[in-house]
C-alpha cells in the first residue's frame, strides 16, 4: 500500500521538477535569444562605428553619422533628476506610512493611492506631461533664463519639451517604487529596536533617523536602485516629453534625448545602417541597466552583511 503511493508521489515530483526546470530553461533561453538577436543586428554598426559610436556627439542618420553620447548623457541626466526629485518625498512618505502618525485605515488609503501611481500607464503620464507639465516648465524656464541666464543650467531659450519636463514626470513615475520598497523595509525593522531607542531617551525623530532608518538601509538602497533602473529604461513618457534632440546642452530647459526615447522615435522609419546603429544603442542601454542592477545587488549585499543578525 505504502510503496506504490511513494512511487506515485516520486513520479509526480519528477514531473513537477521537469516542468519547473523547463520554465527556467525557457526564461534563460528567451533572454539569450533576445540578446543574441540584438547583438546580431548591432554587429554591422559595431564593426563600422566601433567605440566612436559611444563618444560621438553627432546623430545625423542620413549622413551616416551616429554618435550616441548625447543620448547616454540624456539618459543619465533624466534619471538622476528624477531620482533627486523623487527620493526625498518618496522616503518621507515611506516614513510617514510606516509610523503611527495616522490611524491605520487612513494610512492604508494613502498607501493604496501612492501605489496606484505605479498602475498608471506610461503613455497617460506622457499625455498629462504634455498638457500640464510642459506649459509649466516653459513658463518657469523663460522666467529662469531671463533672470539667471548666465548660469549654464538655465541658459538659452526655454522649451517646454525638455530634460527637466521628462525628469519631473519620471520622478512621479518612480515615486511609488521608492515609497513601496522603502516602506516595507521600514516596517520590517524589529519593534525591539524602536523600544531600545525609546528606552535610552530618544524622541520619535531620533529613533527614526538614528536607529530605524539605518536598520532599514538595505531596503532603502534597493528601492533607490530599482527606481533608477526604472527611470533609465522608461520610454513612452520620456519620448513624449523630452523633445528628442541630439544636441548637447547644459540647459535643463533644452530639448534632449535618452537612449530609450531615441529607439522609440526612430526605429519605425529607420533603414540600413541606422537600424543597426539603433540596435547598438539598445545594447548600450541594456549595459547601463544591467550595470545599475549589478551595482544595486552589490550595495545591497554589502549593507545586508553589515546589518545581518538584526532580524
Amino acid at each position: 500500500m505504502s510503496a506504490p503511493s511513494v512511487l506515485r508521489s516520486a513520479a509526480r515530483l519528477d514531473c513537477f521538477q521537469v516542468l519547473c526546470a523547463a520554465a527556467c530553461v525557457l526564461v534563460v533561453g528567451v533572454l539569450a535569444l533576445i540578446f543574441w538577436e540584438i547583438l546580431h543586428g548591432a554587429w554591422p554598426a559595431m564593426k563600422k562605428l566601433g567605440t566612436g559610436f559611444l563618444t560621438g556627439t553627432d546623430w545625423v542618420p542620413h549622413r551616416g553619422r551616429f554618435g550616441v553620447l548625447p543620448f547616454i548623457i540624456g539618459t543619465i541626466a533624466t534619471s538622476l533628476i528624477a531620482l533627486l526629485l523623487a527620493f526625498p518625498p518618496g522616503l518621507a512618505i515611506a516614513i510617514f506610512l510606516s509610523e503611527d502618525f495616522l490611524p491605520r485605515p487612513v494610512r492604508q488609503l494613502v498607501r493604496f493611492v501612492v501605489e496606484l501611481l505605479a498602475a498608471i500607464p506610461s503613455v497617460v503620464y506622457g499625455l498629462w506631461g504634455i498638457f500640464v507639465v510642459v506649459p509649466m516648465v516653459q513658463t518657469a524656464g523663460t522666467w529662469a533664463s531671463e533672470r539667471f541666464g548666465e548660469v549654464p543650467l538655465f541658459a538659452g531659450p526655454a522649451y517646454g519639451n525638455s530634460l527637466i519636463a521628462a525628469g519631473l514626470v519620471l520622478a512621479l513615475m518612480i515615486l511609488p517604487t521608492i515609497t513601496a520598497i522603502a516602506r516595507s523595509s521600514l516596517v520590517a525593522v524589529p519593534h525591539a529596536l524602536r523600544e531600545g531607542a525609546y528606552a535610552l531617551g530618544a524622541t520619535r525623530w531620533e529613533a527614526i533617523f538614528g536607529v530605524i532608518l539605518p536598520a532599514a538601509a538595505p531596503g532603502v538602497v534597493a528601492a533607490t536602485i530599482l527606481a533608477l533602473g526604472r527611470a533609465m529604461g522608461e520610454t513612452m513618457a520620456v519620448a513624449m516629453l523630452i523633445g528628442n534632440s541630439s544636441r548637447l546642452s547644459w540647459s535643463l530647459f533644452a530639448p534632449s534625448g535618452t537612449l530609450a526615447s531615441l529607439l522609440a522615435n526612430q526605429f519605425g522609419e529607420a533603414e540600413g545602417l541606422q537600424i543597426s546603429a539603433l540596435l547598438y544603442a539598445s545594447l548600450v542601454l541594456i549595459a547601463f541597466t544591467l550595470a545599475v542592477n549589478a551595482a544595486g545587488e552589490l550595495v545591497l549585499r554589502y549593507t545586508e552583511r553589515r546589518t545581518a543578525g538584526l532580524r
Binding site: A192, Y198, A199, G201, T203, L310
Partner: protein, 269 residues
C-alpha cells in the same frame, strides 16, 4: 529621600529592611483596553538592591516593569490609575518629561537589540541624543560603560566594528553598557537571559551582582533559580495581583501565601 504621604498605606508591601526605597508604587492599576492586567499594586523597591519579579506568564510583572520607564505609553489603549514615585517624584508628573525619566531608568530587554551601528556608537547613542559632542567625554563613557558591563576586554580592539557581529551574550552585555552609559539610577531588566546559553547567562548574573553597588536593579525572570541567585528581594505576581513581596531567602524558604508556595514549588506556572 523625601517621604510622601501615601494615599493609602501599603497593603502587601512589607517594610524593606536595610535600604531606603527608590520606587514606590501606590494603588497602581493598569489596563490594556478593557483588560485589567495590574490590580491595586503597592510596592516599595529598595535602592541599590536587586528586586526580582516572578510569576507565571501574563501575571503582569513585565507590565509593571515597563511602567517604571513608561514604555507602556507606546501601546495603544493602555491606561493606568494610581501612581508610581521615583525618588519621591511621580513619574507621571507634568514637569518630568518622559525622555528625562527614561534616561534615569535604563532598560535591558529580553532579546538583545543592538542598533545597526558600531559597538562604540551603540554605547554612546544615549549620550549623542542628549547632545554630548565632546570626543573625550564619549571615549571615557565608552570605556566606563563597557568595563561596567564586563565587555571591555573582549571588544576594546574592535570598537568600530559592527555591533551585530557580537555573540548573543556579548550583544546583551553591550545593551547593558548602552543603558549604563546614560548613568541611570535604575536598571530594568526584562528577562535579560532568556535568549542566552547557560555560560552567557552566568556572566550576566555575575554582572548583575556587580552592578547593584551602583544601580537599583529590577529583574523580571521566569527562572526561579535565577531569582534566588540574583535578587535580594522578590515579588511574586499572579493574575495581576502582587501576592507576596519580601526578602528573597524568606520568600523562597518560608512563603506566607499559599499561592506563592504552590508556584515556587512548581505546583503550577
Amino acid at each position: 529621600m523625601t517621604t510622601d504621604a501615601a494615599p493609602t498605606e501599603a497593603v502587601t508591601a512589607p517594610p524593606a529592611p536595610g535600604a531606603p526605597d527608590i520606587i514606590r508604587v501606590r494603588d497602581f492599576n493598569f489596563f490594556y483596553g478593557a483588560n485589567q492586567v495590574l490590580k491595586g499594586i503597592n510596592l516599595d523597591i529598595p535602592e541599590k538592591r536587586v528586586t526580582g519579579f516572578i510569576g507565571p506568564s501574563g501575571c503582569g510583572k513585565s507590565t509593571l516593569l515597563r511602567s517604571f520607564n513608561r514604555m507602556n505609553d507606546l501601546i495603544d489603549g493602555a491606561r493606568h490609575t494610581g501612581d508610581i514615585r521615583l525618588a519621591g517624584r511621580s513619574i507621571y508628573s507634568a514637569d518630568l518629561e518622559v525622555i528625562a525619566l527614561r534616561r534615569l531608568v535604563g532598560m535591558v530587554f529580553q532579546k538583545s537589540n543592538p542598533f545597526a551601528k558600531t559597538i562604540y556608537e551603540n554605547v554612546v547613542y544615549g549620550l549623542r541624543i542628549a547632545g554630548v559632542r565632546d570626543r573625550d567625554t564619549l571615549d571615557e563613557a565608552v570605556e566606563r560603560s563597557l568595563r561596567g558591563a564586563a565587555l571591555w576586554n573582549e571588544v576594546k580592539d574592535r570598537l568600530n566594528d559592527s555591533a551585530l557581529g557580537l555573540s548573543g551574550g556579548q550583544m546583551q552585555r553591550l545593551c547593558i553598557a548602552r543603558a549604563i552609559a546614560n548613568r541611570p539610577k535604575i536598571l530594568l531588566m526584562d528577562e535579560p537571559c532568556s535568549a542566552l546559553d547557560p555560560i552567557a547567562t552566568m556572566r550576566i548574573e555575575e554582572l548583575i551582582g556587580e552592578l547593584k553597588s551602583e544601580y537599583t536593579i529590577v529583574l523580571v525572570t521566569h527562572n526561579m533559580q535565577q531569582a534566588t541567585r540574583c535578587s535580594d528581594f522578590t515579588a511574586f505576581f499572579y493574575l495581576g495581583d502582587l501576592v507576596e513581596f519580601g526578602k528573597t531567602n524568606v520568600l523562597f524558604t518560608n512563603p506566607t501565601e499559599k499561592r506563592t508556595e504552590d508556584y515556587i514549588t512548581g505546583r503550577f506556572g
